[in-house]
């Protein structure tokens, strides 16, 4: 069972604003899709999980500063720029 509250909860976590009609549509779809996923209940518990397919270890490099992108290239896709910096929304209300 997926409730409207479940959908609103994940939408809040994922930071996606939903309209009321979208909430109901996603609720119905999620219920069907999650029910289909239930077959995984039959996967035995005593199996190791595979996060990645190769036995890779971390890749390190020397901690020396490299070349960075020039500031104007970094900022060229931003819509809100001030004094050579990104300008973001307020973190605190008020």
């Amino acid at each position: 069972m997926v409730t409207k509250e479940d959908v609103i909860h994940v939408a809040n976590l994922a930071k996606i604003e939903l309209r009321d009609d979208e909430v109901e549509k996603f609720r119905e779809e999620f219920e069907k899709i999650l029910e289909y996923f239930d077959v995984l209940d039959e996967v035995p518990e005593d199996v190791e999980p595979t996060y990645q397919v190769h036995d890779l270890s971390n890749v390190f490099r020397e901690d020396v500063p490299g070349e960075s992108l020039p500031r104007e290239l970094v900022l060229m896709n931003a819509k809100h720029v001030e004094d050579g910096y990104f300008k973001g929304p307020k973190i605190m209300e008020g």
Binding site: V7, E29, F30, I33, H54, A78
Partner: protein, 465 residues
């Protein structure tokens, strides 16, 4: 369809500039909608360079189309999303650097499902891609534009990306060749991420040899992708009696199975050793794939905040309201669906039931492949379980997800798989997928070359086109 060999023959009698101009005329008149952005000025400039003898390399003067989730410096890269509709990357992806080094002419960025999430290219913000063999049908997805531009003679080579079948599905639906390389063979640096542990950039082409050639160019070491295996690829065809496993659990409808079995019986059996293999874990593969892909997507797509790049609102609001509105307006429905389901699968209380179980199922799928590939050189199956769908036919998301049933197990295991065309049913192409061991693309291509030759003879013998 235009092979590299044919293109080179044309270059002997015509200028590259004229050939590339003709290609753009064709694209601009086309109804396929295979491209989102064309790279006309640069392409024509490079063609002129070729004509002056200044452009060198393995792919000198050859047109290549690049999927629009692969970063191209100075050339708009949208992921077919409103979120990135005006995004211009400040750097090239590793594979694009390699294309440039080898003298390739990048003609444009190809249409795709939004953020590569889909099987039909119907989720593109820029509209559906049409199938070159029937304009009322889809070209497959998510690399639909890359498949269609080859099938429609609008390019000679193309790059796609494959997270759960996104190269092989459009290759199958458009009658072309496409490879999902071994995980780690091709650097993902500059590929806009959807599900990192599953996806690879891969080559698409009009014949096996061309596909292998493009892989030679894009495979190789790159420290900027920490999962890169640091291996090169060189195609050296081998000729031997391969042991071929037919996967019992990968099937299709009567149209597809009729053609697949015909090829197995008429061409594979007489020339190779054939056994049937069973992969019991495949019953878990589709849900495991979707849970892992959606979970990784929910994390990856958190970067779209409307601040540093991408879709933004005129006025900055408070953080939560601004962020939530940007994402509500910038993402399409399928992207929202996958982000939210991924968020759900990773959320407190459900992690063990969904995400962890999916990772355990992944281990079982990988073991099944390892076991089968110990006994067989290659495994074969139909690439897609059905012929190309009518546009709008798969309205329900779960129905669409189920169409990936034959392609997703490969990505879970990380093994390589190639889709090659094996003929037509009702005027529509059918594809066969050839799966091999880790980093044994050479075996896959060698076997595929034999099938391609045998089918050519078969077509000639029967006198049908």
């Amino acid at each position: 369809m235009i092979t590299v060999k044919e293109w080179k023959e044309r270059l002997e009698s015509e200028s590259c500039y004229d050939l590339i101009s003709e290609l753009f005329d064709r694209i601009e008149r086309s109804k396929l909608n295979a491209f989102i952005t064309l790279n006309k000025d640069e392409a024509l400039r490079l063609a002129e360079e070729f004509d002056r003898g200044k452009l060198k390399g393995k792919l000198a003067g050859i047109p290549v189309a690049v999927k629009d989730n692969i970063s191209t410096k100075g050339l708009r890269t949208t992921c077919a999303s409103k979120m990135l509709h005006d995004y211009v990357p400040p750097f090239d992806a590793h594979v694009v650097e390699r294309l440039r080094q080898e003298g390739a002419i990048i003609i444009g960025k190809t249409n795709m499902d939004e953020f590569a999430m889909g099987t039909t290219t119907e989720t593109s913000f820029f509209g559906v891609v049409r199938n070159p063999f029937d304009l009322e049908r889809v070209a497959g997805g998510s690399s639909g534009g890359s498949g269609a531009c080859l099938g429609g003679e609008e390019s000679v080579l193309a790059l796609g990306s494959d997270t759960g079948g996104s190269i092989r599905c459009p290759a199958s639906f458009c009658g072309v060749v496409g490879l999902k390389p071994t995980y780690g063979l091709v650097s993902r640096y500059g590929l806009i991420p959807y599900a990192n542990s599953l996806e690879q950039i891969g080559p698409m082409a009009c014949c096996v040899e061309d596909c292998a050639l493009l892989l030679e160019v894009i495979a190789g070491r790159d420290w900027r992708d920490s999962t890169n295996a640091g291996r090169e690829f060189e195609f050296r065809p081998v000729d031997r009696k391969f042991r071929v496993g037919v996967i019992r659990e990968m099937g299709g409808n009567d149209d597809v199975m009729g053609k697949f079995e015909e090829v197995v019986n008429d061409i594979v059996r007489p020339n190779f050793e054939v056994v049937e293999v069973s992969m019991p874990s495949f019953m878990f593969a589709l849900p495991a794939y979707y849970i892992i892909a959606m979970s990784e997507a929910s994390s990856n797509l958190a970067r779209y905040d409307g601040v540093r790049y991408g879709y933004a609102l005129e006025k900055l609001d408070t953080w939560t309201r601004y962020f939530s509105k940007v994402r509500a307006e910038g993402f399409g429905e399928e992207v929202k669906r996958r982000i939210m389901l991924g968020t759900y699968a990773l959320s407190a209380g459900y992690y063990g039931k969904y995400y962890l179980k999916a990772l355990k199922a992944r281990t079982l799928v990988k073991r099944d492949f390892e076991r089968a590939l110990k006994d067989c050189d290659v495994l074969i199956a139909p690439t897609m379980p059905a012929l190309p769908f009518r546009i709008g036919e798969l309205a329900d998301p779960l129905t669409m997800y189920k169409m990936d049933v034959n392609t997703v197990p490969i990505n879970l295991a990380g093994v390589p798989a190639l889709s090659i065309p094996i003929g037509f049913v009702k005027g529509l192409p059918v594809g066969m997928q050839i799966i091999g061991r880790f980093f044994e693309e050479n075996t896959i291509f060698s076997f595929a070359l034999k099938i391609e030759e045998a089918l050519r003879d078969e077509v000639q013998r029967k006198g049908v086109a």
